[in-house]
């Protein structure tokens, strides 16, 4: 026991000297520190609908030029097309057709803008029927409704307020003969925009886009 105490007494002073030396070296060293500090603010890809104007001004619109052999009928006020931008989320546009009937047709001019901070390219669009079969063409009877989006795919849009920050497109629809009476047909049209510098297909664009 005594032997151990003696050994410890010999070690402690050495340890103290060692620690003091180490401290002395650390604090006494001539040195300087340089500092690099940075902040990165990332941008945003964001687009929103800015307007929608449809050609049903009361009297049901007729295709122009008239594509059929029979005479142009007298226009009646039967169907109604309502187009609104969602008040909560301006990325969503609601198109509602009321009292539609076979061959009721409409065309809506829609505008959207790049309101983010990154230039974008329109990657594509997709018409997705929710509860019906989409007709292949205007007048085709292989589906209940024909919906066509006139696109601008590939167009590049600078962030607003740049003069090329907006895009005009149109949505046309036609109620086909197979459509049922007193039925509600629902569909979505997606237009996908993505950052200008990355190649992306419509599917890739949709897969990466936030869901809402």
């Amino acid at each position: 026991m005594k032997k151990n105490s003696r050994s410890l007494l010999k070690v402690i002073p050495l340890l103290i000297i060692g620690l003091l030396l180490a401290t002395g070296i650390a604090y006494g060293l001539w040195s300087e520190t340089l500092l690099i500090s940075g902040v990165v603010h990332t941008g945003e890809v964001y687009g929103k609908w800015t307007s929608c104007i449809c050609n049903d001004d009361g009297l049901d619109p007729l295709p122009t030029p008239w594509p059929y052999k029979y005479p142009i009928p007298v226009r009646k006020d039967v169907g109604k097309t309502i187009c609104t931008i969602d008040s909560q989320d301006p990325r969503i546009l609601h198109l509602t057709i009321e009292n539609g009937y076979p061959s009721y047709w409409g065309n809506c001019e829609v505008h959207f803008a790049n309101t983010g901070s990154v230039p974008v390219i329109i990657r594509g669009y997709s018409v997705v029927p929710k509860n019906f079969t989409l007709a292949d063409d205007n007048g085709a009877e292989d589906g209940e409704i024909w919906v066509k989006y006139w696109d601008g795919v590939g167009a590049q849009m600078e962030p607003c307020p740049h003069k090329y920050c907006e895009q005009a497109s149109s949505i046309q629809f036609h109620v086909e003969q197979p459509a049922q009476e007193n039925h509600i047909y629902e569909f979505d049209v997606y237009v996908c925009i993505a950052q200008w510098n990355e190649d992306a297909t419509m599917d890739e664009c949709l897969a990466a886009a936030p869901k809402y």
Binding site: W30, E32, L34, V40, H41, E44, V45, D199, A208
Partner: protein, 217 residues
């Protein structure tokens, strides 16, 4: 019982004492003096530059930012004087705004020895406790603990670049703010770890390879 000192002894003692004093005053002598002044040196390092380069990958191919796209993502960097008592600038501040995937900003700078003592410098490193994004990286064109002589410089880069993969992995988001910090330590050469290639000026030939070398307007 009192004994008297003999007169003869007193006389001899007096003569010896006087002789001793006479020797001390009469000795031929000279004094040598050493006056010294020590002027200490200085460990002082600072940044030069920085120089900003911006470019963008378009569908995977690097190119200069098109003029009309330039303003949407900006990168700026400047040197700051963190220690007004010493020479040079001890800090660099980097500010990036509007960054998006595959936008690149590289900030090139040099570390100069402005003092009188050779130093060994570290590569820029993230100090303990910092939360630097993984997509902010460093490239130093010198080895760790590089020996930097007075009036010499060594180059390094900070590169800011994230990808869509980083976004998918949650490392970056839109409208985000990310901060980072790097540090360079310079220690007097004789009290710092030595570098294996400490005396080499050309430590990493081709160090700049892989960087898009267009300096921002």
């Amino acid at each position: 019982m009192n004994k008297r000192l003999p007169l003869g002894f007193l006389a001899i003692l007096l003569i010896v004492l006087l002789a001793g004093v006479g020797v001390a005053y009469g000795l031929w002598s000279e004094t040598l003096t050493i006056d010294g002044t020590v002027n200490t040196g200085e460990v002082d390092v600072g940044f030069s530059g920085p120089y900003v380069s911006e470019w963008v990958e378009v569908n995977g191919t690097a190119q200069i930012e098109p003029k009309e796209k330039d303003k949407y993502a900006e990168c700026d960097a400047w040197a700051t004087d963190l220690d007004p008592k010493s020479d040079g600038k001890e800090g660099i501040t980097i500010a990036v705004s509007g960054a998006y995937p595959s936008y690149h900003c590289a900030v090139k700078f040099d570390i100069s020895n402005l003092g009188t003592v050779p130093v060994h410098i570290t590569k820029p490193y993230a100090p303990k406790g910092s939360t630097n994004p993984s997509w902010v990286t460093v490239k130093a064109c010198y080895p760790q603990w590089y020996q930097l002589h007075p009036e010499k410089s060594a180059w390094a880069w900070i590169l800011i670049h994230f990808t869509n993969k980083d976004y998918e992995n949650g490392l970056v988001d839109e409208n985000g703010t990310y901060t980072f910090t790097f540090q360079v330590d310079a220690l007097q050469w004789n009290e710092a770890p030595a570098s294996a290639t400490a005396t080499s000026e050309e430590t990493e030939p081709g160090c700049w390879a892989g960087y898009y070398e267009e300096t921002d307007q």
